[in-house]
């Protein structure tokens, strides 16, 4: 084997190993778009455009909400989870940069919605908390909603809401081998869409 062939073979091997151990590598057995397809059935929205296997653009019939849904994976030993993230972008009337995380309060039962500022101007936190409390429709939608993560970011004159729900996710186990899709129930689906519409309404005027 000459030197050029050996160098090329080493380069291919290095690339393959790099891909194999890469943090971005998709888990073995992951089928992009499968969970999104299941979620599509749960959402039951006519305007559901699959942009790529892992990304979809969705709109409500009355055009009151446009959102993106993206699949992401989380690897474990001989298992992976597929989660879906709902994302809404809208223009901001405020300048600057800020980031907030919303979560339910309470040790056993949900007692309210708490907002934690991760970065940015402190004044915005007070305003956002006040709006969340006073917008009863939004509050009623958020309280029963089983969201795992709800982040709101302000950047480049744009609000970006990212929500990850417990439903619309899938467990894919290889030993023992099974899949289980966790459905987004009708009640949760309605609460989710109402919450996203409500957040859009609140952030537009913030």
């Amino acid at each position: 084997m000459n030197r050029v062939t050996l160098t090329a073979a080493m380069s291919v091997l290095r690339q393959k190993l790099s891909e194999l151990f890469s943090a971005q590598r998709a888990p073995a057995g992951y089928q992009p778009g499968r969970t999104l397809g299941q979620l599509r059935r749960n959402l039951g929205l006519a305007r559901f455009e699959q942009v790529s296997p892992t990304l979809a653009r969705v709109a409500l019939d009355d055009d009151s909400l446009h959102l993106e849904i993206r699949e992401r994976t989380e690897s474990q030993l001989l298992m992976h989870l597929v989660m879906t993230e709902f994302s809404v972008r809208l223009p901001a009337s405020t300048e600057g940069a800020a980031s907030f995380a919303l979560h339910h309060g309470g040790a056993v039962r949900r007692t309210g919605i708490h907002c934690r500022q991760r970065m940015g101007e402190r004044a915005l936190l007070g305003q956002l908390q006040a709006r969340l409390q006073h917008d009863s429709a939004l509050h009623q939608a958020l309280m029963p909603l089983d969201f795992k993560r709800l982040h709101i970011e302000l950047r480049d004159h744009q609000w970006h809401v990212r929500l990850e729900h417990m439903g619309g996710s899938e467990v894919v186990n290889r030993m023992p081998a099974f899949r289980r899709y966790i459905a987004l129930s009708r009640v949760q689906r309605d609460a989710l869409l109402a919450a996203l519409v409500g957040l859009q309404r609140v952030l537009r005027t913030l």
Partner: protein, 499 residues
């Protein structure tokens, strides 16, 4: 498009290739109970166990053709459930699936919990002495379950990126130790590659070891749920299962021969007849013999991480499965409870923690019980295998018109061979020196409970004929409807499967 065309198109699509399918069939080898089973099997049976392994391989190869045909007719994610449901109806489907996965998990999961600590600490002499004085090294496995359960309550995911490294690490470890043990000068003079059997080598003895040997190969069906994701699955899957079985067999033959060549199987307790190779203590002795002081350290760290990662996977996966079943209405509503702050299914995590912990505590972490648990798990698995085989035979007779991208060759010879072997394996499953009741009673109780649940669920909750087979076309239509890009109209409730 006809169902035949759609099925062909479905089987030729997919994102997963041969390497993943092969990895799925051989993933089981890194489980601690498998390694201990091989050590014990070669210890007591020697050449007779090697013969039993060969019989088990032939049986499992025959069984693999049945699974491959079932997966080519029904390339669904429901796999075993759907095969049996279409062949024999929901009652057998629920019983078979729970038997294959849940009952196996109860027995093999408990064995893994007990062994995770024992196998790791047995390689560290001082730590092991300390752990034994504190109640037993098996408590480390219970500790793993508690720690990873609590971490999961807080939404913390451990070992997220360690899958490839751990799988690759354990494979390499086994092969390196096996090959080094074979090429090193033998420490024991043996008759043949595997030595003489301590329990005889007549036909009945060999058959009594087949059940133990089967445990190393059951799990080849784990690749079948990958069928919908495999490229050219009708060709790739049977090859992956067969190559996987041969790979596991080769690795275990090398490991067994190396162990017998390097470790003297001395009597530890003359009264009970316990030999060194019957216990986990044989493993550090083997490691030290092959690689000196670094050997037990290497194996200890390997088993520690592999055990912890396996238990973490159980703690991360099983609660979500339970939560999903509760959302679908297959379990009581209380299991849908989520922690307000962390949004984790606390009650489901608690149940997933309690099952192996309470079972291990009930058994007192006694490693003498491990083989009973393993063999009870083999019975559960074998039962599910029989149901799948019967279903495939029924479908061949009742529905010869169904498109089959893969047909089991020489039908029904492989099915007769595997079924006869499995029945013989279950009948003679008790190795010499063991009480059959210790295996059959817990398995029978669990199977009976599962059957009662299946009957109650189908008759009272689902209100369907439990013995009416499902239509293959209906099951396929539901599977194809889930495909991304397929047009849907309106909200459709998620189909709730009982298991």
């Amino acid at each position: 498009m006809s169902i035949n065309d759609r099925l062909t198109a479905h089987l030729n699509r997919g994102t997963v290739g041969f390497p993943t399918a092969l990895a799925s069939t051989i993933g089981l080898i890194m489980a601690s109970p498998v390694i201990l089973t091989a050590t014990m099997g070669f210890g007591i049976g020697g050449s007779a166990f090697a013969l039993a392994m060969l019989i088990a391989v032939v049986m499992m190869l025959a069984q693999a053709t049945t699974f491959a045909e079932a997966a080519s007719i029904l390339p669904t994610t429901g796999s075993v459930y759907d095969y049996i449901n279409c062949g024999m109806g929901r009652f057998f489907a629920i019983t078979g699936t729970l038997s294959a996965y849940l009952i196996v998990h109860v027995f093999a999961g408990t064995a893994e919990t007990i062994l995770a600590g024992v196998m790791a600490l047995v390689n560290f002499e001082h730590l092991n002495t300390l752990a034994e004085s504190a109640g037993g090294s098996w408590l480390l496995g219970v500790g793993f379950v508690l720690v990873f359960g609590v971490l999961n309550v807080f939404g913390v995911s451990a070992f997220g990126r360690a899958e490839i490294i751990l799988t690759f690490g354990m494979w390499t470890t086994l092969m390196v130790f096996g090959v080094l043990g074979l090429i090193a000068a033998p420490a024991v003079q043996l008759d043949g590659w595997f030595g003489e059997s301590l329990v005889g080598s007549d036909l009945v003895t060999v058959l009594s070891l087949v059940g133990m040997a089967m445990f190393m190969f059951v799990g080849c069906e784990f690749v079948t749920p990958l069928a919908p994701d495999l490229r050219q699955s009708a060709k790739v899957m049977p090859r992956a299962m067969m190559l996987g079985l041969m790979g596991v067999a080769t690795c275990m033959f090398i490991y067994g021969a190396a162990m017998k060549r390097q470790v003297e199987n001395v009597v530890l307790d003359a009264a009970s007849g316990v030999h060194l190779l019957d216990t986990p203590m044989a493993i550090p002795r083997f490691a030290e013999q092959v690689m000196g002081q670094i050997g037990p350290l290497w194996l200890g760290v390997g088993f520690l991480f592999a055990g912890a990662a396996t238990i973490n996977t159980l703690m991360a996966g099983v609660p979500r499965i339970l939560y999903g079943m509760a959302v679908d209405g297959a379990l009581p509503k209380v299991f849908t409870y989520l922690h307000p702050r962390f949004k984790t299914p606390v009650l489901c995590i608690l149940v997933a923690m309690l099952i192996p912990c309470l079972h291990a505590l009930y058994l007192g972490g006694n490693t003498d019980n491990i083989m009973h648990l393993v063999l009870a798990a083999v019975c559960a698995w074998s039962f599910a295998y029989l149901l799948v085989t019967v279903s495939v035979v029924i479908l061949r007779i009742r529905r010869p018109d169904l498109p089959r991208a893969y047909r089991s060759p020489w039908f029904p010879l492989p099915q007769l061979l595997s079924s006869a072997g499995i029945l013989l394996g279950m009948w003679f499953i008790t190795p010499p020196g063991m009480n059959p009741a210790d295996i059959y009673v817990p398995f029978g109780v669990m199977l009976g409970g599962t059957a009662v649940y299946a009957l109650f669920w189908t008759l009272v909750v689902q209100k369907v004929n439990p013995f009416k087979p499902a239509s293959v076309e209906d099951v396929l239509a539901k599977e194809f409807a889930n495909e991304p890009g397929h047009a849907h109209s309106g909200y459709v409730s998620a189909a709730a499967k009982a298991v």
